[in-house]
């Protein structure tokens, strides 16, 4: 189908973007790889799209004090090709290769994936496992939210109207493992996990299991298995199948952490 009618604006600065976002029915457009399908399917009908892709401050990857800051507008391909991400955040480098297909990774952005909060998406789980800090800007200033507090529920985040996610700060991990089961390469995950080991703590965030990333900080594999929530069934998999597959992935991850 064709998208419904809307107006379009492309601000050059955050200040200009905040002004535009005050208009009724305004919605942020970045890579558009989730928003444009939802427009074409007429699941969404904004009055104004505010294309933020010309705002320079939202781009780039930089390393500071052991923390890698990734700008919201970095595409999955840029993250995938980044030498800094491969070296310091192998978890994220591995995760982005599972996101859809090359033609989509060339447009889709890190910020877009985090702000959408799809329960089957890879990056929200990585952010939670790594204990990332998400940087959110609004007219009145910037605030920082931990990933665990940012994701509230199904496609629901802590972002308020008028706010823009400007980037994410990922602390390095000691060891990490990323595993995903999907029916075909690039499909939405049936279930997956992002696992991180730091000093004596293990953080394992599941995706495709609940309405938002499910974080476990278990002391043992048995404890981890017992604390998994019963997932909701999806179109193709029953709750017990998903729970079984989550346990299989958990065991694989545990043995290599």
């Amino acid at each position: 189908m064709k998208a419904p009618s809307f107006a379009y604006a492309k601000p050059r600065s955050l200040a200009e973007a905040f002004e535009l976002l005050e208009r009724p029915g305004a919605k942020i457009l970045a890579g558009g790889q989730s928003l444009i399908p939802s427009l074409n399917l007429r699941l969404s009908s904004p009055e104004l799209l505010v294309d933020i892709t010309a705002i320079e401050g939202l781009k780039g990857i930089s390393l500071k004090n052991g923390t890698l800051r990734v700008g919201a507008l970095c595409t999955h391909t840029q993250v995938e090709r980044s030498a800094e991400v491969s070296e310091h955040l192998p978890l994220v480098a591995e995760a982005v290769s599972h996101i859809a297909h090359p033609a989509i990774r060339n447009r889709g952005t890190l910020g877009g994936s985090l702000a959408l909060a799809d329960p089957a998406a890879e990056l929200p789980a990585c952010a939670v496992a790594l204990d990332a800090v998400l940087v959110v800007a609004a007219k009145k200033g910037e605030r920082r939210v931990s990933a665990a507090d940012f994701f509230k529920g199904l496609f629901e985040t802590d972002l308020k109207s008028g706010e823009i996610l400007v980037g994410a700060e990922f602390p390095k991990a000691g060891k990490s493992v990323f595993l995903e089961l999907a029916r075909r390469q690039g499909d939405y995950a049936i279930v997956g996990l992002a696992a991180v080991s730091r000093s004596n703590e293990k953080r394992i965030a599941f995706f495709g299991l609940g309405s938002k990333p499910v974080l476990l900080k278990p002391k043992s594999l048995e404890e981890a298995k017992k604390s998994l929530p019963v997932p909701a069934a999806d179109l193709y998999h029953s709750a017990s199948t998903k729970l079984h597959l989550a346990k299989v992935l958990l065991e694989r991850a545990w043995n290599s952490l």
Partner: protein, 155 residues
């Protein structure tokens, strides 16, 4: 009143300027405004890959990008890559290996496959399959398509 915006882009090497409605996606613009009907529209929500084109040298889903977002960009379509002979070997291999039947997916399939070929890696069959996993073909069962791409990569 629908908002119209002026866009200027370079399509297959030629600069074009047009007024477009904000909601028009790039493939509708190419097909209907410029008459470049080689890029196909299948699902129109980013699943089938039939609309794959190049924007600033990288492949994208033409149905998931608004025409206005391509303002200032270089756009290359199957027509441009075919005329420049960049696809010559791949097209010949598709022909030789019977890698198409109805041909609807073929322009997108060629764009995706050429993207893999030009990165220079000696991809395995598995890697070829993974790379074209975002391009649906409902006729061939993919075997012949993978054969053709493999032939070009491995000579």
């Amino acid at each position: 009143m629908e908002q119209s915006l002026s866009v200027t882009m370079t399509v297959n090497g030629a600069q074009v300027t047009r007024s477009v409605p904000a909601r028009q996606h790039l493939v509708d613009f190419l097909r209907e405004e410029l008459g470049l009907t080689g890029s196909h529209l299948g699902c129109e929500h980013g699943v089938c890959g039939a609309c794959t084109i190049r924007v600033d040298g990288e492949i994208v889903r033409g149905c998931l990008m608004l025409a206005v977002q391509a303002n200032g960009c270089r756009v290359d379509t199957i027509e441009g890559l075919s005329d420049s002979k960049e696809l010559e070997k791949l097209q010949a291999a598709f022909h030789r290996r019977n890698a198409l039947q109805c041909g609807f997916c073929t322009p997108g399939m060629l764009m995706a496959a050429q993207d893999l070929i030009r990165n220079g890696k000696k991809a395995t069959r598995e890697e070829i399959r993974a790379y074209i996993s975002g391009n649906y073909c409902r006729c061939t069962g993919y075997q012949a398509i993978v054969d053709a791409i493999e032939e070009v990569i491995h000579g």
